[in-house]
Amino acid sequence: MSDDADSEFAAAVARAGVTIPPERWVAMREAYVSMQTLLKVLDDPLAYEDEPASMPRFDLGVK
């Protein structure tokens, strides 16, 4: 892992306000990298009209 990635993870931990014991640091950093790799798909551009589905209302229009 690069120093940049390690710094990024340290910053994320600090921002979250949680404490990771030294013996779990590497495992958590690897988990963070795996998560960010999966989430790259979220960087794909979306159209302005693609609004969030924050609170689904699948019942709209059913009645």
Binding site: R15, A31, L39
Partner: protein
Amino acid sequence: MSAEPLPTLAEAGRKIAAGEVSPVELTEAALARAVALQPKLDAFIEITADRARAAAKRAEKEITGGRRRGPLHGIPYGLKDIYDAAGLRTTAHSRVLIENVATADAATTARLEEAGMILIGKLATHEFATGGPAWDLPFPPARNPWNTAHFTGGSSSGSGAAVAAGILGLAMGSDTGGSIRLPAAYCGTVGLKPTYGRVSRRGVVPLCYTLDTTGPLTWTVEDTALAMQVLAGHDPRDPGSADVPVPDYRAGLRDDVKGLRIGYCRDFNRDGEVNAEQSAALDQAAQLLAREGAEVTEVALPPNAQFQACARTISHSESFAIHADVLRTRPELYARVTRERLMLGGFLTAAQYVQAQRLRRILTRKVDALFETVDVLLTAVIPGAAPVLEETDDGPWRRQQPLASVFNVTGHPAMAQSCGFSATGLPLSAQFVGRHFDEATVLRVGYAYEQAAGWVNQRPALATL
């Protein structure tokens, strides 16, 4: 302990109506079985024997007095220990809530009690319906009745174990990323994740507000229909609840599948890393449904990675928001696996959460489009049979992407049920998925498949001890 598993809900209802068995006898049988199998399965966190016996006597008095409330009156059930039942602890299998006593019933508990059902106990779960099997908690993880060395699936682990072992005809579960369907799949039961908003979540410990659903695990599809008849309906005190009419779930249950269009998501098996024997079992399920008269065609879902990015971002973000305070101030209260998986949500950004919610709407639209040409989708819910419990992934990042969470993202109703067995004798599972609020068609297809395939007649050897 009785040599036989408890009868199904439908069978028990028929026997009670005919006077062949009483609620007290059924309750005593369930309690005896629960106690006898607890050392092997650890399915229960608490067995509520006194409460159950008192409720059974009341039910018996009502029924013999000619006041039978309905087909579930006098029949035992269990609650995953994230559901409130007034006067009982709701621990979520966690030290964090070890002293938490519910002051009111969850909306679903209230509906089951009103139907006259008898609560036998609170069931094991993965801590806060997330994490995984863990040994550094106040209660041990549940074990799979087909082979107690194996994982039940989760997070509704005790629910899957108790139904598969024939202790209960109905156990409630919750499903944020597969937590009803995964234990149903690994334990060989039926497990229905209803449409988001179909069944109230009020009084159930939340994990992720916009993905959480509540629903039943049963042994048969008919029993799931019976349970849904009681559970489904609008709850104005649940912000996610939908005000959509509830149909008669048993009305069309026995209709055959002739003319129904089933979209088999065969490509999804590869995308989801489904193994060869699970893929073959799904192929055979599709072929059987075609022989029964369904029009089976292959359809393609969007890439699994898109669903997983959505599900994980949303679930981790919302669950971190719920647990942030305790994670920061008393992290030692959680099991390590729970703590680490919950913490991941703190490393996400607001922009990622919003993008995931935007992608979620796009994916939902794409799956809705499939339902313009088919009535039900058939997919995998698990990549293969249950792993050995001690070898279950306990890292902070799940190596395998859960296939079930696809339909938490889109909100569609999805039901897992047995579709055969692995070479090692463990259940394999199919998943039927329907249009929003069309649980009835999912049940119809599931019932037709269940009757034609016959897997429902095989129970774990443990259940017939």
